[in-house]
Symmetry: C2
Subunit: 342 residues, 2 copies
Amino acid sequence: MITIFSEDHRLQDGKAELIDGKLVPCFEMPKRAEIVRARVAEVGLGDIEGPLHFGREPLLRVHKPEFVSFLETAWDEWKREHGDYDALPLNWLAPGMRRKLPERIDGKMGYFSFDAGTPITAGTWRAITASANVALTGQARVAKGERAVFALCRPPGHHAGSDFYGGYCFFNNAAIAAQAFRDSGAKKVAVLDVDYHHGNGTQEIFYSRGDVFFASLHGHPAQEYPYFLGYEDETGEGAGEGCNANYPLRWGTGWDDYETALDDAIAKTRRFKPDALVISLGVDTFRQDPISKFKLDSPDYLQIGRKIAALKLPTLFVMEGGYAVEEIGINAVNVLTGFEEA
Amino acid sequence: MITIFSEDHRLQDGKAELIDGKLVPCFEMPKRAEIVRARVAEVGLGDIEGPLHFGREPLLRVHKPEFVSFLETAWDEWKREHGDYDALPLNWLAPGMRRKLPERIDGKMGYFSFDAGTPITAGTWRAITASANVALTGQARVAKGERAVFALCRPPGHHAGSDFYGGYCFFNNAAIAAQAFRDSGAKKVAVLDVDYHHGNGTQEIFYSRGDVFFASLHGHPAQEYPYFLGYEDETGEGAGEGCNANYPLRWGTGWDDYETALDDAIAKTRRFKPDALVISLGVDTFRQDPISKFKLDSPDYLQIGRKIAALKLPTLFVMEGGYAVEEIGINAVNVLTGFEEA
């Protein structure tokens, strides 16, 4: 399996995120991607290639123009007003407030974001466009006939919506790739999200569309970030009714319950009869993840890969979360080797 | 003029708020109220008395029960999960997310809050109930015949809505007092908010009511916190249509433009023919305020007091913001002495 990777991911190196009432070093750090890349090389998964450049157009297929423009200039605007220190928003919309874009950068950040854990830095724009290009390069390779490709994206993407960022995510790499499959001829595409956190951005982007099926297995929103989406009764709307499937799972979920949910998600994916498959590949379901509460073990990720392979679809793996840094390589690559062995 | 004051305000002594991408010492600090109290004594404004205790009932007249219960137990829930360090939320609702109350404290805080600058601490519940009692005690004295009373509330309140906190505010003292006027016989009540920031909470609480008129002069939401409310076209709805008046003013506004807006707000208040008046008294319109951008001078506050006095209404002054700590006493008390001299 080919891996697509860009060194530019390192340009997103935030100092701190707000958690537990404190600013602590970002869990989403450059080392994550480096360890996955090293593991890819170690097991000899296949070639590691750099991304091509696709420009703005594919981003604008799923993100609103004002959001893309905001991300492009946010750091400069912030720096002009606040100096050379990572940008975090300070307030958001209370119920009944109006989503009207303010003029100042603090207001704009409140408008476009939903947490205080996703710093915009000097290198953010280059890192996030590179990450999207990694996904798009992988997609193009699959569209041209590869059975499967690994897009080693960083920063991750699945929390980012049509016009909001958060959860370490800015551009929704998986959604951008799914849309690119549609635009390169696939009639129907499925996105399966196995990250520990609900893929709220992907759901938001495709919620009313019948051509993209989205399934997510994740920590129950009553217990877990991002808290305000990811319930079972969210099944899509309009043309998208029936094309959204959430599997909220409680703290402490181990392989047995996870497998049951995964099998159901895969069965639903199969029934949708997609022409291509995008996997939002997070491995923060691992039992030692520092911010998550599932109990999966490293061999379980081989199983996940085998089950995905059984769908026999052109498949793009897009890297998302996973914060047990030392094991992230083993677990992520286990999914890929499980897939290849199947 | 009698001043009502509680030492319990000191129990709200947050360590830090998120601003400029950093956690910095809270601008909203105990010293603020102490300096105002010292100035009240220095000029011999009148007696300083402690608050009576009014219990939950008057809080529940403007705040939702689940919000009051949340504030009562939030610190204990936080401490159980995160330890003995100030509680700040980490994420909020993105567009399209569902306002469904999560089980865990981090999720609950995201549900009920709109910024990362309003820490919940061990002493918050006692401080905010004391602050509400200060406002209610002042209101009761006015209802019994005092021409005017100064409720030296801290923490402030005007950003707090029916079920959300933020902007250093938890209970909306001014709204609680305005409702108490209604409940003690006033047919119509006006709230005039001269704090630098929009009184978004007060607006939200009374927006569809015809019995409470709300006017606010404040930094323009395109430029200033809380950014997402406070525009001129917000005039009330339903029975409250025409009972809300916003005066968004641009950075650099000095006395001349401020006076024009204030005269208009006072004229509108007069036309409403209220039986009682509540003033949300912030003095962060001062030229040296560290987080605000108006250019009022200390003598201008005497003028504000005189203009309010000309309404010849039973009047409750409720302390809100003001972060130029050394001058907060002079400026706040200037409003009160201006009122008394008129």
